[in-house]
């Protein structure tokens, strides 16, 4: 079976499920306006709004029609890409289309950083189990995991942008602007990957086939590199894929700190201006990107690991 048909087959198999989930997600996003206690109209317009303004907004949000109608209209607008912003003339998905690549750049670089850092720390720790290298790696991993992004970001800014003036304080002015946000976004994940790689590699190193490889006189390099590591990395790679999506959520916080012009900043700005269609669009696009990434990771994973074939 060629690679392309393999991918296509799996895509076809999984697509209905993914579509179902996204329909459910859009239903939830649309319904939340009605489900939550409180009145979104008052929230947007304030207490002193005139009755005319209120009913106009109610009409735009579809809150004066039945929920079914409201949802269908929302779905149609999302489907045709005609969802309109409250506050700007640019359609919702056009604004998102401009912001999303910025967020993806941030997330992909954070992923690369955490993979490089996390794997090397984890491998170093496992191969030097019980030594000070192991202890240091574990310490940094625990610290990195518990350090909140909302704190790490400002601290990085304080040290590297304010005190030492090595990097810009915010915005996107070329690659130097990328360094601090990527560090702030990727550290927690690097820490998690380091812990996972360590425990996974330690488990594999105790297996019989590793002992066999050693017994037949292979060099430690080959034993670890060719036999142990390959199997140890399987669970790590799964997590790596799943985490790309959570980087998207973490990007919201990171983008605020570094004033990065991505979808997180767009989302927060829209929340501040109560631009609900834009907020809903952002939430759905982030969720969609997450779901699609997970789908791709699953498919690649199945193709790479023959045992996963169903």
């Amino acid at each position: 079976m060629s690679l392309i048909t393999g991918v296509a087959q799996r895509l076809a198999m999984r697509l209905p499920g993914v579509l179902g989930v996204m329909l459910g997600a859009s239903l939830l996003v649309s319904a939340t306006l009605r489900l939550v206690p409180g009145d979104p109209i008052t929230l947007i317009l304030g207490e002193q709004a005139t009755e005319a303004d209120r009913s106009r907004l109610e009409d735009r949000l579809g809150l004066n029609s039945s929920f079914g109608e409201q949802y269908l209209r929302f779905l149609r607008d999302v489907g045709t890409g005609e969802l309109e912003s409250f506050r700007s003339d640019t359609p919702v998905f056009e604004s998102i289309g401009q912001a999303l690549p910025q967020t993806l750049i941030l997330s992909v670089f954070a992923l690369l950083l955490s993979a490089t850092l996390g794997l090397s720390l984890g491998i170093a720790a496992a191969l030097n189990r019980g030594t000070w290298i192991d202890a240091c790696a574990l310490f940094f991993a625990s610290l990195g995991l518990a350090t909140p992004r909302i704190w790490l970001g400002p601290m990085l800014l304080l040290v590297f942008a304010v005190q030492w003036d090595l990097f810009p304080v915010g915005g996107n002015e070329g690659w130097r602007s990328l360094v601090l946000p990527v560090l702030s976004l990727g550290t927690a994940m690097a820490a998690m990957l380091a812990r996972m790689t360590r425990s996974s590699l330690l488990e594999v190193l105790g297996m019989d086939y590793v002992r066999t490889a050693r017994a037949k006189g292979l060099s430690e390099r080959v034993v670890v590199g060719r036999h142990a590591l390959r199997n140890a990395l399987i669970p790590v790679i799964t997590i790596l894929g799943l985490q790309l999506g959570s980087l998207l959520a973490g990007a919201v916080v990171t983008e605020k700190i570094f004033n990065w012009p991505g979808i997180g900043t767009l989302l927060l700005k829209s929340i501040q201006t109560m631009d609900f269609p834009m907020v809903q669009g952002c939430i759905l696009v982030i969720a969609g990107t997450y779901v699609l990434t997970n789908l791709m990771v699953d498919i690649v994973y199945e193709l790479v690991d023959p045992r996963m074939k169903t």
Partner: protein, 265 residues
Amino acid sequence: MNLLLKIGLTGLGLMVFAAIFGPLIAPFTPSHMDITRELLPPGDGSVLGTGVNGIDVFSWVLHGAGVSLTVGLSVVTVSLSIGLLMGTTAGYFGGRFDFALMRVIDVLLAFPGILLAIYIAAVLPPSLTNVVLALSATGWVGYARLVRGQVLQVREMEYVQACRAMGMRAPRIIIRHILPNIAGPVLVHGSFGLGGAILGEAALSFLGLGVAPGTPSWGALLDDGAQYLLVAPHLAIAPGLAILIAVLSFNFLGDGLRDHLDVRS
């Protein structure tokens, strides 16, 4: 008792202590303002300096322990209750309810991290209760999945079958015989959840979607700190350290409990 558990429990004790006695120790109330003493560095009558509107940072951080702990415990209680109810029902009875629950969970898992909480918090006015609501709306999913999986395993055990054979009713079997046997993993998940909820509240408040203005939240203070980084760098350090210590303690507590109860992850 292992070292991790001891560290975790110490951290928890410290936080409970700060939450109960913090208001007595703190030199000022959270609402105390003095605009003549805005954004001052530590020293000169305020241990950790002052913040926006001249609030006393030390007093805020102490009062913040109570806010964080309240949110953390409330979110875990609400999520755990919903998760237990849903997870045991789905796991024990299976069938249509189980199918429907799993589809709902699929949909909720389409929103990464605290994204859905951000959305819910955005359509609600800022308040402590609404933060708990937003974080619990997604928080229960983890418990429900865990409990369901555990119940599925325990359900087929001989002692459960024996109960059934004796004609015991399902609710009694679940409460008396299944729940005690799945308590370990749930407890471990809960202690990690406590740290997660504290982190979630801080993040929401940092984004301006959390507690009402004037509530002494670590996240809100950190938000001020990030905004006045150039003028008042001291502002961001204390609340961030507080969050770090709290989350680290609860992670240690979870790790320690896992080892202590010999729970396999």
